[in-house]
Symmetry: C2
Subunit: 213 residues, 2 copies
């Protein structure tokens, strides 16, 4: 049964792979699973038909037979639990890889998304320029700790996992801020992930939505 995911009809990033459908596309590519995509407009995302799939009116969603999922973390965990390639088999290593999924989404992503959101919502406010260094400092604290833990390892805990997949895409949201570049091992980690054939297939697929218009 081929799952269907949703993605932006017009992604705000213009196809740079920063929208959350990229996470699901990459996970499906790493596990060799085919998938269908349904594009939704910003208007459609807030209509009852889409809200029935996603209570917060966002993308991506994941439909597979009777199963409907939202939240990219949950979708990726579902894919990883059903197909080899994203989680180790050994139970303790598997639990640790899942811990990195949560770390990406609950510890690293929030201050990065916050910086991104206020850069849209508050850029005309008189305080924005003064707050930016405060937000950067919070992000640097987390990046420093992550950089220390990664050290010169290739991936966060042994082989590439769903934890790395989410972490890399969360870190990519810093593009343009020059913050990631302050941590050469993290920049190299992102580049290493971007070189994976599955990443490249996912990237091209989401980019085609923007460029085929």
């Amino acid at each position: 049964m081929i799952p269907t995911i949703t993605a932006f009809e017009r992604s705000p990033d213009g196809g740079m792979g920063l929208a959350r459908d990229m996470r699901v596309r990459w996970a499906l590519e790493e596990t060799g699973q085919p998938y269908d995509v349904r594009l939704v407009s910003f208007t459609q995302m807030k209509e009852p038909e889409h809200l029935a799939l996603h209570p917060f009116g966002q993308i991506p969603t994941y439909e597979e037979g009777d199963l409907v999922l939202f939240e990219s973390g949950a979708i990726i965990l579902h894919i990883a639990q059903h197909h080899a390639g994203l989680l180790p088999e050994e139970p303790n290593a598997r639990a640790r890889a899942i811990a990195w999924m949560f770390a990406a989404l609950n510890t690293i992503e929030p201050p990065i998304v916050e910086r991104e959101q206020v850069s849209y919502a508050e850029r005309d406010k008189p305080w924005h320029a003064q707050r930016l260094p405060l937000m950067d400092e919070r992000i640097r604290q987390r990046l420093g700790e992550l950089s220390d833990r990664l050290g010169d390892a290739g991936w966060l805990d042994g082989s590439f996992s769903a934890g790395d997949l989410l972490m890399v895409l969360v870190l990519r949201r810093l593009e343009g801020s020059n913050l990631l570049e302050e941590y050469p091992n993290l920049a190299a980690y992102v580049a290493r992930a971007e070189a994976r054939p599955a990443y490249q297939r996912a990237y091209e697929a989401q980019r085609a939505v923007a460029t085929d218009r």
Copy 2:
């Protein structure tokens, strides 16, 4: 094998159950599992011994034999996967309950924690009073969507699950803001959870750390 979790030696909330060890205590109580607690000071949390357990120098951690986990979401998922009481058995319902875990941590919690953090870090800044309504509006958007989805159901998707456990404790972080009270079904949902015997045992256990000093 009895797991050991870490908690604040002096919780910033003074034992109101808002620290993240409460999540793990409650999950262990719901599943009837005994546990040991090791208290750590703010200094200890940033020392190498604790950083080896938790790369971001926080609590809680979870140690069970050779397994060391961090991130409360991952710890609760681990507990829920090994003991009955926090996730449905039926695979699709189980995947949906896990989606609510991620929704609590990645969609609902970030704007709530942001409001909490700037209320400490920026309360003396001239812009703080002007930004507070902006932050409240972002939280209201999410609470409104959550309230619409919950409707008059008892729990988010069928029986009480780990998704409800995390959502309730995330919503509790709004205490003192008066925001939750604008959504009576959400306030009732939190109260319903707080009435569970397992919640009360967990609450008393973390409260004893503060009051026994």
